[in-house]
Amino acid sequence: MCRLFSLTSSVPISPMRAIEALDVMKEGHDGSGIGLFLTDLAGPFQDCKHLPILSGIFTHAGLRRMEEFMSSQGFTPKFRLTLEAEETPPPGTPKRDVYLSQVFEPPSAWADLAPAVREQELTKTRLALRHMGQAEEDIVVFSFWPDVLMIKEVGDPMEIGDYLGLDREEVYAGRILAQGRQNTNYGINLYACHPFFIQGVSTMTNGENTAFVPIKEYLGSQGVPGYEGYQSDSEVFTHILHFTLKGLGLSLEAYKHVITPLQDDDLESHPDRDFLHTMKQACRRLIIDGPNCVIGCLPDKTMFMVQDRKKLRPGIVGGRPGLFAFSSEACGLDAAIPDRDKSKDFQPMHLDTAIVSPDCQEVRICRQTQPLPRQH
């Protein structure tokens, strides 16, 4: 089972804090990979918050091809951060040419685009690059989005953190999702590494999604750019969340009702019975059925944790105003925020969504049996 750890903080912090917490929980993951999602960035990226950042891994040839492609599309390169490490990589980690985070100025013609169209175009650009790199594996792109950095690599999280020098101030962030990977059912592949990302929405999971194939087939057939290339059964959680928020225009509270609808008796006595009943039927294809704990971050920097119906995976939330963490294990939480009021720690059960809003002041618990906030 993978180990998950995320931090939401009102002041930027080092991703190493999250990686250290993963290290404490090390018994649970086999060190077959690390994935990081960083947003609310500090340092040099703060100055270009509205400009998209391309995160990925390139060979030298791939880098050149990427640059040519981007300039042909009218993108102007701005600030660039590379994590090239000189020494030999830790055991199990291949030697890569360039770990890149590159800010781009979009083509001038984009200035008039509506925000939604602009988002589409960014996604399409990322997909084009991903497709370009598929045959040679010389271009691996994780995200292309303003104020988002993604770093993924195979190997032991702590060793990779040291190797890539992830304690440098340039990568400090207010919101961090980190996963220590336990490779279980699919091959070791960079794209299979959590967290997953689409248009500001990012999630990671510990568990196995047994309803993966039907959900993947459904999402993949909806004609939404980005719902493709599934290398992990957990990637669909990100896309379902994206579908809920952007496709259906619903709120985070509704996400739980999509992936794990209430059972009939509870539904009958719910104040939003009719709405939820319709949603349960219409979104039935998106019901998840494995043991899963999902941690994620929304475009507005809200962070959350939900459990599947069976609640067979661990997950705990805690912290203090200004700093909260979502962890798959309590020991990770203890390591990262020892000075918190432990009596306020919360382990979401099968009806709960634990939410920390961008203001980072408290953990709000939303139970599925409560009335939904007004959906628009």
């Binding site: 087939e217 009939d264 069976k310």
Partner: protein
């Protein structure tokens, strides 16, 4: 014996029959129960004459014959004795069907049928009077691709398997058109028309008509279904088949457990239409039958033997006439029009509150029908009946040689919906040979994972709930002529009195509760419990490369 005895081309020996009767003179008490019970008069009381020749020992032979004391013979003599027993008739019209009813009633096990090892010659003589053979039952082929499919995505360590006995499961399915999420929410917000959807148990009792089944069988099934719904909370549904519905049921609250079928003969629909204003409940759904697995491209056929007063009254026809339904709905001009108009008018009849879906035989045109339906906003699903389906009367040739296996037909349809992004939007109900070798839960689960939203059974429930004797080896199968030895498909009270509706109901409940446990035993190790694993094809594997490729599942050896 004279050399020119009456041996006609159709004179068969007992050896030529598919079923032969072993009768044991030593244990038979001549009670006569077997001959009384035999539904086809294959056996009859026989008087046998036995001649015994006596030859005196050598040396005792005496030429003087007249004055011998009695008791002493001195010349060969013959005596005749008479004894009684059971004789199997060899006239093709009375051939034994292997039902073994004779054995069931024999107090001493003195009689039993056994299957001939060689090819029977009866099959060449079954078209007497130029009438090809008709029968009930299923295709005479025991093999089944569904039986070869394994479930292999078993969770163990990375993903704890669930406890089938103690975990909560929500294994329900939806019948009715399910709008795409965005459209559904919009329709609801705007108070628009939402297509009716029913949440039901995924194993349905498929269409077997009142008329095809005996009143006792029908009543037993309905009672079982009602019990499952009301006492056990299992929303099991049963389809009427063509032939209407008893008026009392139409006006009862149990109608909601019933799917009314209308087929090309429109039998019984006068009664249904007249009952609409008096209905306390809407039916679960309306099924429009265009075809069925037993006789693809053909209409229904209820032979005159079974059209008694009651059946005639319910169907609105004169008694004692054969009732063949035309192959298509005669009032319609083209299939697209037929489907669209029928669906619309049926929906309209119940104020668009009842899901209406067509049923077709699995065939090369299934995809075309499905594509048509996806564009019809009132279509509530599609039932597909594979080549192994069928309980009523059909020509032997149709049953054995026509139609399309369900597995690949269903898979094609489901994958086509996937391509359109409409999977489960239009539920597919699959049937035809499910559980024909007794593996009901495994077969049903395989169909669901291949893409079926629900599975329907006909023959299986007859076998399991009423002890139907039919098999894939051409055993019994006289459902069509009203002589059903078990009283399942007979309209003759002397026969159907053999079947106790209460006991049928009890068996229906047993079958469903047993099935439910088995289904859980399959889905729990796959880590599924909160939604039916429709289309979960990654769980399936088969040791046949061609089949694996065709069904797009894993090839495993």
């Amino acid at each position: 014996m004279p050399a020119n005895t009456a041996v006609t081309p159709s004179t068969l020996s007992q050896r030529d029959l598919p079923w032969q009767i072993d009768w044991d003179i030593q244990t038979c008490t001549l009670c006569g129960r077997c001959t009384a019970v035999c539904p086809v008069n294959a056996i009859e009381f026989g008087t046998f004459r036995k001649r015994t020749i006596f030859t005196p020992p050598l040396g005792l032979l005496d030429k003087r014959t007249s004055d011998k004391p009695s008791g002493q013979q001195d010349r060969p003599s013959s005596t005749s004795s008479i004894y009684y027993g059971i004789r199997q008739r060899t006239d093709p019209a009375y051939a034994c069907i292997g039902c073994a009813m004779c054995n069931m009633v024999c107090p001493n096990n003195a009689i039993k049928p056994h299957k001939s090892e060689s090819t029977d010659l009866l099959r060449f003589h079954r078209d007497r009077g130029g009438q090809p053979r008709t029968r009930g039952g299923r295709r005479n082929a025991g093999d089944s691709v569904l039986d070869q499919i394994k479930f292999m995505r078993i969770s163990m360590l990375t993903d704890p398997a669930l406890d089938a006995g103690r975990h909560e499961f929500e294994l329900r399915t939806l019948i009715g058109r399910i709008l795409p999420p965005a459209e559904a929410l919009k329709t609801q917000r705007e108070n628009g028309w939402m297509p009716p959807v029913r949440e039901i148990y995924p194993l349905m009792i498929g269409s077997m008509s009142f008329g095809a089944l005996s009143p006792n069988m029908w009543e037993g099934l309905q009672m079982g279904v009602a019990y499952l719904n009301e006492e056990l909370g299992m929303p099991v549904r049963m389809c009427t088949g063509e032939g209407g519905c008893p008026p009392r049921l139409l006006r009862s609250r149990f109608l909601k457990y019933v799917i009314l079928q209308i087929a090309s003969g429109y039998f019984g629909w006068d009664e249904i239409v007249h009952a609409i204003p008096h209905m306390k409940e809407d039916p679960c759904a309306v099924e429009i039958k265009y075809g069925q697995g037993a006789k693809p491209g053909d209409g229904g056929l209820l032979q005159w033997h079974k059209v008694n007063q009651l059946i005639a009254a319910i169907r609105g026809v004169p008694p004692g006439v054969s009732l063949p339904s035309p192959p298509t709905h005669q009032t319609k001009y083209s299939i697209e029009e037929a489907v669209a108009k029928m669906i619309q008018s049926m929906s309209m009849a119940w104020g668009f509150r009842v899901p209406v879906y067509p049923k077709i035989s699995a065939s090369s045109t299934s995809l075309a029908v499905l594509n048509n339906l996806t564009r019809n906003p009132y279509a509530a699903g599609l039932a597909i009946d594979g080549e192994d389906g069928g309980t009523g009367a059909a020509y032997n040739v149709s049953m054995n040689h026509m139609g399309h296996p369900i597995a690949s037909n269903l898979r094609d349809c489901y994958l086509n919906l996937v391509k359109l992004g409409k999977q489960n939007e239009l539920p597919i109900i699959a049937g035809g040979g499910t559980g024909k070798n007794g593996n009901l839960a495994a077969n049903a689960a395989a169909l669901i994972m291949l893409g079926a939203s629900a599975v329907q059974i006909g023959k299986y429930i007859m076998q399991a709930a009423a002890g139907c004797l039919g098999s894939e080896g051409d055993r019994c199968n006289i459902c069509n002529i009203g002589r059903c030895p078990k009283g399942i498909t007979s309209q003759d009270p002397r026969l159907y009195r053999r079947l106790d509706p209460e006991q049928v109901a009890e068996r229906v409940v047993d079958v469903y509760v047993g099935f439910d446990t088995e289904l859980k035993k399959i889905v729990a190790p796959l880590g599924r419990s909160t939604s039916l694993p429709i289309g979960m094809s990654d769980a399936l594997g088969i040791a046949d490369r061609a089949a694996a490729e065709r069904l797009q599942i894993k090839y495993v050896v």
